[in-house]
């Protein structure tokens, strides 16, 4: 029973982080109408930014959020402005082909990092990296709890932003009907640039929060792009509330998979869940919740 509870808690905590990854992807998906297959690679960049700050300047990874999020916000905006938006203007290129562009961007990011840092495994071993707290007999990872709290705060802030501010409303308007949004005076291209920045900043936060408990290497982006993809599909393609459910589901599935089946199956479990959802619940959780 203790093992079960412990796994449950670990799964939910991790799920909070995954929700952050999925939310970024979902926002981009909603506004651009494409899936961003460089999502994990953007997270990888944020992890290296955090690593450099920690290793060379002794900055605690949690404080590094103040640098990694804005850096990735800018990187995301630049990618949208100079690499993705121009594609829209070429009539011969279908909008869907932007997806191929994101794959290319992901590859370039990975290789640039490999060139600078080589393929070596790195880690940011903080004093609290393996610290655990005991609550009612079950042990809870300290860094994962912090990550969960920060992820929750960021998620709430994002929802507040999307619902209560004009910019947030403009983002939702563009994702629902870009042409009608233009008629309302919204510059859809500018909104796309901002949204890509925002999605990148969110996944950057997840990367920074994960660093103290993860190994870092240039190819780590791939598995996280896959996770983001799974979360987005689980959540029902473009539903922000769905992305939270998707994130937590994947977190739980991975936690239970590695506890009860074996560590090496962690990633496979997610893909099995994914396959089951595709087969039995196409449309994801959105079909159940309608939000």
């Amino acid at each position: 029973m203790e093992v079960f509870l412990q796994t449950l808690v670990a799964g939910i905590l991790k799920g909070g982080l995954y929700a952050l990854i999925g939310l970024g992807m979902t926002l981009i998906m909603g506004v651009m109408g494409i899936i961003n297959l460089a999502h994990g690679q953007l997270m990888m960049i944020a992890m290296y930014v955090t690593y450099v700050l920690f290793h060379y300047m002794g900055v605690d990874p949690y404080y590094a959020l103040i640098v990694s999020m804005p850096s990735l916000f800018v990187l995301g905006m630049l990618i949208q402005r100079f690499l993705l938006n121009p594609l829209m203007k070429v009539e011969a290129i279908l909008p869907e082909n932007q997806v191929l562009m994101t794959v290319g961007i992901g590859m370039v990011l990975t290789e640039v990092i490999r060139f600078i840092f080589s393929s070596n495994y790195l880690s940011a071993q903080t004093s609290y990296s393996s610290e655990v707290r005991f609550v009612g007999g079950i042990s809870i990872s300290y860094p994962l709890s912090i990550a969960f709290v920060v992820a929750t705060v960021l998620t709430l802030a994002l929802f507040w932003f999307l619902i209560k501010t004009d910019l947030g409303r403009s983002i939702r308007a563009v994702s629902q009907d870009p042409e009608a949004a233009e008629l309302m005076g919204i510059n859809a291209e500018r909104i796309k640039i901002i949204t890509m920045g925002l999605g990148s900043a969110l996944v950057a936060a997840a990367g920074t929060l994960l660093l103290p408990i993860y190994y870092l290497y240039p190819d780590i982006g791939g598995p996280f792009t896959r996770r983001a993809f799974v979360i987005t599909i689980l959540g029902g393609l473009g539903s922000t509330v769905g992305a939270i459910f998707g994130g937590v589901t994947l977190g739980l599935a991975e936690a239970f998979g590695s506890t009860y089946i074996g560590m090496e199956f962690e990633e496979m479990i997610g893909l099995v869940i994914f396959l089951l959802v595709l087969l039995f619940l196409p449309g994801g959780f959105k079909r159940l919740t309608k939000v």
């Binding site: 042409e179 009608a180 949004a181 233009e182 005076g185």
Partner: protein, 234 residues
Amino acid sequence: MLKVEHIEVYYGDLQVLWDVSFEVRQGEIVVLLGANGAGKSTTLKTISSLLSPGPGTITLQGRRLDAVPPDKVIEYGVAHVPEGRRLFSEMTVEENLIVGALKGEAKAKREETMKWVYSLFPRLHERKKQPAGTLSGGEQQMAAIGRGLMSLPKLIMFDEPSLGLAPILVSEIFGIVKTIHEQGVTVLLVEQNVKHTLAMCDRAYILENGRVTMTGTGEEFLNNPQVREAYLGV
């Protein structure tokens, strides 16, 4: 107020408007009539800068409107209530109205304008927290008109507001168009519904296969045997 001169509009290689010219004067209700596929929506989209007028020009109170990007047209005082409502269906009625007033004076007067819109459409007030996609057809049209009014336009363009509505709602919508006009907004109305519109308009243009073929006052049209036969079936 609005002058459309010699516009030629294409979708890719396909030309759909040929040398279309017309004008709307301050304080008028002008109707653009035409069958399905005549090019009415294309004309409105060109005024809203979503399409290029080719060699033609579009001016509003002497200021060039073509070459202005689509998201800036609203700042010139032109609102476009598009065909098929095009509401933000997952946003609430209230949010749709807010998105209609994002800039400048419209933003500053948002609360006030919203009260005015709710007074025109009490039913929208009852449903303000409801997602726009869950409204009935007539209510959606009201929300789309309300959203257009939120920008405090000098000129408002309606693209077939009666489309797909029950006859009783059609009268209600045209009543609203008249009310809006009486409150000082100039109106350009695109319609297939000849009977209602000719009676309420100052002037009308007929668009056939992408060309303006006839123009006159509402009264002239109603007394014209050709129009009566072709459009009123009498």
